[in-house]
């Protein structure tokens, strides 16, 4: 495929975290540990040497067990983490949010939050004012829009958050396990919207534990395990591999052996 159709390119990305046992929170603790050489730490690789690319208009599923590095990978792509090694290239605007509703404040009204959320994601006040009516309409929260967020039900809150994130129309959308909320009607609506995104040539990264979502909606899927990428292929194959990983504790090793 031509390289100009690539929306996201991840090249040999590694993210190392320095894990300090009993991280000293205070200066006193730090000094006492430094002097007694008790500052023991180890480097933990949350993501090791991962490479893949996503084409424009593709929906890529990312699956893996808890702690396998999925969210870290998304955070690197979204620009929240600067990777320890490797390179990430994202062409086009990206909605730099990992969790829906990040940055929303319970004391502010829905309307105030729409603006604040949009500004946080790098949009201008004018752009947000233009989209406000549509956001409110899609979220179906009616008169509550001028009520402080703390009085919203969790469903209303999520609807508003999803509506803001998708109505601002980014070229790349990053979604981390968020579609588990909301009633089935709204979930349906969310997926319809994601499909329209895809049809409009937008790129979607979807981290999920719902294997059904992966096989039904994604064009491709990768499986992460212990920071490494095990497979980059068709959703069906990825799901199969993932199931084997989960069943066998030493799944990753088995898979690697099979691949080599």
């Amino acid at each position: 495929m031509a390289s100009d159709s690539v929306a996201i390119r991840v090249e040999n990305v590694t993210q190392r975290f320095r894990v300090i046992h009993e991280r000293p929170d205070t200066i006193r603790a730090l000094f006492s540990k430094l002097f007694r050489h008790e500052l023991n730490y180890y480097d933990f690789e949350a993501v090791s040497n991962v490479s893949f690319s996503v084409h424009r208009g593709e929906m890529l599923g990312i699956i893996g067990r808890n702690g396998s590095g999925k969210s870290t990978l998304l955070k690197i792509i979204a620009g929240i983490y600067t990777p320890s090694a490797g390179r990430v290239e994202v062409r086009g605007s990206i909605a730099p949010l990992i969790e829906l509703g990040a940055g929303m404040h319970p004391e502010l009204t829905g309307r105030e939050n729409i603006l604040l959320n949009g500004l946080l994601m790098g949009y201008s006040k004018r752009e947000m004012n233009e989209r406000e009516a549509k956001i409110i309409e899609f979220a179906e929260i009616g008169d509550f829009i001028d009520t402080p967020l703390k009085q919203y039900s969790s469903g209303m809150y999520m609807r508003l958050a999803f509506s803001v994130a998708t109505e601002i129309d980014p070229e790349v959308l990053v979604i981390d396990e968020i579609l588990a909320v909301g009633d089935s009607g709204f979930q349906q609506k969310c997926f319809q919207r994601l499909r329209r995104f895809q049809e409009a040539g937008k790129t979607i990264l979807l981290v999920t534990h719902s294997l059904q979502q992966v096989t039904e909606s994604c064009d491709r899927a990768i499986v992460m395990d212990k920071g490494r990428m095990l497979i980059d292929g068709r959703p069906g194959d990825a799901v199969e591999l993932y199931k084997r990983c989960v069943e066998a504790p030493e799944g990753a090793a088995l898979v690697e052996a099979a691949q080599s």
Binding site: F17, D25, T26, I27, R28, L30, K75, A78, G79, I80, Y81, T82, P96, L97, I98, E99, A102, G103, H105, E107, L108, E112, L115, L116, L119, L120, M121, G122, S124, K125, P148
Partner: protein, 258 residues
């Protein structure tokens, strides 16, 4: 430093929204709401004026105005730095979830406190009139020390915002530091109150020139000397240069520590 101006300009709408959010939340649950931003300094000034013009009879005429001319900018310093220590840590959840330029948080903290300072100048003017103290034309000079002070405070804010990410002790140390700093700055007393052999302490105080600018123009009706004005800006730009350099060096790591 160019980065700072460019990013501040680029994120001006976000910074403004965050500063307003800060103020809205501070006053939201109260009945009088935003009026408190005006009422707060007014009431404080009324108390101070009553205490110093009727109860404690000091030799300094119009002591309340003497005091307020420096106490208001001091409150701006103290509040901004206290907010600063929380500006990154307190927004940790946000920083972990949204890719956003980190500098917007400390800058917004300064902006919200600057709004408070500007609002508090209104009741100060009213009190000057009520007490029939002389109202000097030198008030028009106030924007100059305001700019110098804001630059200085921004620098301090960047420094304390960074430091408190790594060591939470910083916010406690800062409170003690502010206490000591308050007393070695001639806010509640005049310069000659200090024994001559200790006056070198004033020379070490980076805000003394800028603070003096406030008092001279509001209380004495004079303008500071050119040397004093230059000194206030030199201190301000050194603070900003150092503070921002430290902040910029560490900002990409904040997300791992908040």
């Amino acid at each position: 430093m160019i980065d700072l101006w460019r990013d501040t300009y680029r994120y001006r709408e976000l910074i403004w929204a965050l500063a307003l959010k800060e103020l809205t939340i501070r006053y939201k649950r109260s009945v009088l709401g935003f009026l408190w931003a005006l009422l707060n300094p007014t009431l404080m000034m009324i108390v101070l004026t009553l205490v110093f013009s009727h109860i404690m009879l000091l030799s300094t005429p119009h002591y309340a105005i003497f005091l307020l001319s420096m106490l208001l900018p001091w409150t701006f310093i103290a509040q901004s730095l206290s907010y600063a220590a929380e500006s990154i840590v307190g927004n940790g959840d946000l920083i972990k979830k949204v890719a956003v330029a980190k500098l917007v948080f400390p800058v917004a903290a300064v902006v919200s406190n600057l709004i408070n300072l500007l609002l508090s100048m209104i009741p100060l003017a009213v009190i000057v009139l009520i007490l029939r103290a002389p109202f000097y034309w030198t008030w028009i000079y106030l924007p100059v020390p305001l700019v110098a002070l804001t630059i200085f405070v921004l620098g301090g804010t960047f420094f304390f915002a960074t430091a408190s990410v790594y060591y939470r002790d910083v916010s406690h140390i800062l409170q003690i530091l502010l206490q000591a700093w308050f007393y070695v700055t001639p806010i509640i007393y005049t310069l000659d109150f200090f024994p001559a052999r200790y006056r070198w302490i004033f020379k070490l105080n980076p805000v003394i020139y800028v603070m003096n600018g406030f008092r001279l123009s509001v209380y004495y009706g004079k303008l500071p000397t050119a040397e004093s004005i230059i000194a206030s800006f030199v201190c301000a730009f050194i603070a900003l240069g150092v503070g921002f350099a430290i902040f910029r060096k560490y900002q990409d790591e904040f997300v791992f520590y908040v």
